[in-house]
């Protein structure tokens, strides 16, 4: 119940980050989701990611649409500004907020109904615009809040709780995003925090839109045998392609580097994303190759997970719009209003 105050108990062993805040300071109110919901694990990973990145909570704009996943922004970073908007409209809200104040750290939380159906257009255009945000799809292949209808990400043949098979092909947000120029595409599993946390951290630091599709099983409506978004199915079929490390700029990079199969990409702020144990033929910076590889794996029923693609050279929305460095919200009126003399001169043209 979100109106029940969560006790703020801090264990003395909790390690404060550079702002002196412990992981507890990045939590939100009590979750009202079903016990065991994958979304709660994602929330926990988000909390850790923000804490570990030393994020000032009030700089975070956490925005969502409607659905189970969209309830979760109340459950993390209570010191952040939150906006639970309308179904499928989160991308537009974030786009506007980010356009106004480019210093905000924008995180959008969405689900498969919110992003694959009603908000599919907005997702695509936010990707095309390369809005500087972390876009999380908590993907459970089912409409939870309305009690169990198939969603647009339900796999062909996947069975509903009542045993009815899904007959329409799914929209895969990962391949969709790649095909329209996404610059950061990942898939993860809510049950694998070790993988998810570094991906979220890298996504938050990525300049541009970072899309993270998180398979997040619905314990109530879609965790049965026959579901392809269940805990059992996902654990069995997930194929870690690139185990990801994220090394923030300030940390000593050399300390964590392993020899052998690894690839590193340095982000704009100097932090490093490192792909460990990548398959020999897997190049996470080659869009065409990634697409081909995913097609092939997916066809064989596997669920490739990890940070699958990264293009650090994409042009982010503000760079494309060539806005000034200072956030538009901070521009004084004098720099916006041309004044009476300019109006007089201008009007000589309307003669």
């Amino acid at each position: 119940m979100s109106y029940i105050k969560k006790p703020v108990a801090k264990h003395p062993s909790l390690k404060p980050n550079k702002l002196g805040l412990t992981v507890r300071d990045y939590e939100g109110s009590m979750s009202t989701l079903c016990a065991g919901c994958g979304h709660d694990s994602v929330t926990a990973a988000i909390v850790r990611a923000f804490h570990e990145l030393d994020t000032p909570p009030h700089m975070v704009a956490k925005v969502s649409g409607i659905g189970c996943s969209s309830k979760t922004p109340t459950y993390f970073v209570s010191g952040a500004h939150g906006f639970n908007s309308a179904h499928g409209r989160m991308p537009a809200i974030v786009t506007g907020a980010n356009a106004a104040n480019k210093e905000l750290l924008c995180i959008g939380v969405s689900g498969d109904g919110d992003s694959m159906s009603i908000g599919l257009g907005q997702l695509c255009h936010a990707i095309r615009r390369n809005v500087n945000m972390l876009y999380i799809i908590e993907n459970n292949g089912v409409y939870g809040l309305t009690k169990g209808q198939f969603s647009a990400s339900s796999d062909l043949g996947s069975k509903s709780k009542k045993g009815e098979p899904n007959t329409q092909p799914p929209i895969d947000p990962v391949r969709l995003a790649l095909s329209i120029g996404a610059t950061f595409v990942a898939r993860s599993f809510s049950g694998d925090k070790d993988q998810l946390v570094p991906i979220l951290k890298a996504g938050l630091r990525h300049k541009g839109l970072a899309l993270v599709d998180v398979i997040s099983p619905c314990v109530t409506f879609n965790d049965h045998e026959g579901s392809t978004k269940s805990y059992v199915y996902t654990r069995k079929h997930q194929l870690p392609i690139a185990v990801t490390d994220f090394v923030p700029m300030a940390e000593e990079i050399t300390a964590t580097i392993e020899e052998g199969e690894s690839k590193s990409v340095t982000l704009h702020d100097g932090s490093v994303v490192r792909f460990r144990k990548v398959a020999a033929d897997y190049d996470p910076t080659n869009r065409g190759a990634v697409m081909a590889y995913l097609e092939e794996r997916q066809a064989s029923g596997e669920v490739p997970v990890g940070l699958l693609f990264l293009d650090k050279n994409g042009v982010e929305m503000h760079d494309d719009a060539r806005t000034v460095d200072v956030p538009l919200t901070r521009l004084p009126f004098e720099q916006l209003c041309p004044g009476s003399a300019a109006l007089d001169r201008l009007q000589d043209m309307y003669r």
Binding site: S2, Y3, P56, P57, H58, M59, V60, A61, P73, T74, G79, A80, H81, G82, F83, N84, S85, A86, R89, P91, A92, I93, V94, T95, G96, A97, N98, A99, A100, N101, E103, L104, G121, Q122, C124, H125, H318, A321, R322, T323, V324, D325, P327, L328, T329, L331, F333, Q335, L336, C337, P338, G339, S340, A342, L343, D344, L346, Q347, Y350, R351
Partner: protein, 605 residues
């Protein structure tokens, strides 16, 4: 009978043949001669090949509403020729292209036909085929200059301004105009009895369309984020905003911009972006037309309920559905007043001309932020896309925007605890905070049920508490929207209420009615919620005619819904065919109604 500076003429063209530039030139030349003038572009929803008309009315007394009483027709479109011939008033003139023989069946004995072989002249003069077509239209400018006594010096000056950097084009235009001019001078008596004479009535005026003026208002208001989806007839608002921002808001050294224009994927996204930007603290607006408002309804309700400022420009066109995109109407009054599901009410401003588009655009942002709510600027195609002669726009350099109650870092530092929706001020508004300012300002914005502290609720009393405050807030805005314009006449026996672009036609009609002994007071609504002066006006007159441009008497409905005025004293005069309102339509409507009433009262005596 000679009529100086008091006539109307119409130009019938095929669109995409350069006629817009010729017609604009004519209108501007007359404006520069100091004569009150208006131009109405009656164009099709098409890029090339369909009929298009342009009407110019000159009137020394300043009656520049549309009239369909044409003294002269320039019939350049064979396809519409038969119809165009019929539209000229008896005793009028018709200019046609005499390169081909005139269809005898299409002449009229009461109209003087003036044939100019434009096609032949242009074929002889210009080599290239595209140029031959375009210059035919430019050539009639010269003919009209000769017949109506337009100052050729002014035309030459305008060509120089327009084509100064393209000497070849300037020369073609000059040559074409001269062709039409010389031919008329040689072959016709000139000037005609309807003609122009220089005046001094437009010296302190400008020639501007409402959409440009709206965009200018948005720039001067300090709007930094504009999100939109292209739609006729509002597209030129954003075109102008872009041009103006490039001029005024681009850093000369770095080329960086103090604005962001987001061309959205649809209107749902456009309004979402505006709400997001306003939520984050920018002044933000969108510009659209009726179909866009239909799509935006969902999020307009969110902005209303979560109390987020948003400025929405609606340049109305003819509905329903796709309707007639290039024709004008006032069909979105009710749609905007109550946009979105559930109990919603909005602030709506009704400009009547480009001057008010500018002023009200500035005002919209102040109201949106002061009341933390969507504000509609309800323009229309006639105001938005036609060029109007208006007094020069004024700007007070002491003007500072009213950003409403926004807590600063220091405010928040001093505050024990922040609650989004309380305490409320005298207008029913609570302070808001912006993301990124201070940890204490954090709160959760939601379109779901919430209480006065901003927390989620499903408790009836808590929900109603907030909804009741929103109603109080809306009511309080009645004293902040622009006051109605009220003009009283001595011995007035009834009242006329109107809105927006009906202004000129109705005021002209009132003069005409007075000449017939029917004297009425005038009230033009400029904002919703309605100020008390509007209700008083209605109580003080019987009957009250409500003149508006839609089928369903939407303003009248809104007046009866939102005031205590008895419905039966409000009589409608409606014009909704898609062309700008004419004084004659108002006169006829009022007279018919009054006569019917008299007949009725006689029969019941």
């Amino acid at each position: 009978m000679t009529r100086v500076n008091d006539f109307a003429f119409k130009l019938a063209n095929v669109n995409g043949t350069g006629s817009a530039s010729a017609n604009g030139l004519l209108m501007q030349a007359i404006f520069r001669m100091g004569i009150p003038v208006s131009g109405k572009n009656l164009f099709p929803s098409n890029i090339q090949g369909l009929p298009t008309w342009y009407e110019i009315r000159v009137n020394k007394r300043g009656y520049t509403a549309r009239t369909s009483d044409y003294d002269l027709m320039v019939a350049m479109n064979a396809e519409t020729y038969a119809r165009d011939v019929q539209e000229v008033r008896s005793g009028g003139y018709l200019i046609y292209d005499s390169s081909w023989p005139l269809d005898r069946g299409l002449t009229r004995s009461d109209v003087t036909f003036l044939g100019v072989p434009y096609a032949r002249l242009c074929t002889e003069t210009f080599a290239e085929s595209r140029e031959r077509t375009l210059m035919k239209n430019i050539a009639y400018v010269g003919t009209l200059a000769a017949l109506l006594d337009i100052d050729m010096g002014i035309i030459a000056g305008m060509l120089k301004e327009k084509f100064g950097k393209k000497p070849a084009l300037m020369e073609s235009n000059r040559k074409a105009i001269q062709l039409g001019y010389d031919y008329a001078k040689e072959h016709f008596e000139h000037p005609l009895p309807i003609r122009l004479e220089k005046m001094d009535a437009t010296k302190d005026s400008i020639l501007i369309d409402g959409n440009t003026a709206t965009a200018l208002g948005c720039v001067y208001a300090g709007a930094t984020v504009a999100a939109w989806y292209p739609i006729t007839p509002s597209t030129s608002v954003l075109d102008a905003f872009k041009t103006l921002c490039e001029k005024f808001r681009t850093d000369k050294e770095t080329g960086k911009r103090r604005y962001a224009i987001l061309q959205a994927e649809d209107e749902l996204a456009a309004i979402g972006m505006v709400i997001g930007a306003s939520w984050a603290g920018a002044r933000s607006f969108t510009s659209t037309a009726g179909p866009g408002i239909s799509l935006m309804n969902e999020l307009i309700g969110l902005a209303y309920y979560a109390e987020i400022p948003a400025v929405i420009v609606d340049v109305q066109r003819v509905g329903p559905s796709t309707g007639m995109p290039t024709r004008t109407q006032q069909g979105d009054i009710l749609l905007c007043a109550y946009a979105s599901h559930g109990d919603t009410k909005h602030i709506v401003l009704f400009p009547a001309n480009p001057g008010e588009c500018f002023d009200f655009a500035v005002k919209s942002f102040d109201l949106a932020e002061r009341f933390q709510t969507p504000v509609f600027l309800l323009s229309d195609l006639d105001i938005g896309m036609n060029d109007w002669v208006i007094p020069r726009l004024k700007w007070d350099d002491n003007h500072r925007p009213n950003r409403g109650h926004v807590l600063s870092r220091e405010d928040l530092e001093a505050l024990p605890k922040f609650y989004r929706y309380s305490p409320e001020d005298e207008l029913g508004v609570a302070a808001r905070t912006l993301p990124g300012v201070h940890p204490k300002g954090a709160f959760f914005t939601r379109g779901s049920g919430h209480n006065r502290l901003g927390g989620y609720t499903e408790i009836p009393a808590e929900y109603q508490d907030v909804m009741d405050r929103l109603a109080r807030k809306h009511r309080a805005a009645r004293n902040c929207v622009p006051e109605a314009v009220i003009e009283r006449r001595s011995k007035a026996t009834f009242g006329v209420i109107t809105v927006g672009g009906c202004d000129l036609a109705v005021r002209e009609a009132l003069d005409k009615l007075e000449a017939r002994g029917l004297v009425a007071d005038y009230c033009r609504v400029r904002g919703f919620p309605f100020g008390d002066e509007i209700e008083e006006f209605m109580h003080g007159h019987n009957p009250v005619f409500v003149v508006e441009q839609n089928r369903d008497a939407q303003l009248r409905s809104l007046l009866t819904l939102e005031t205590n005025v008895p419905k039966d004293k409000l009589r409608s005069v409606l014009a909704y065919g898609g062309f700008p309102l004419q004084a004659a339509q108002v006169v006829d409507g009022v007279v018919a109604e009054l006569e019917e009433e008299q007949a009725h009262s006689r029969s019941s005596d």
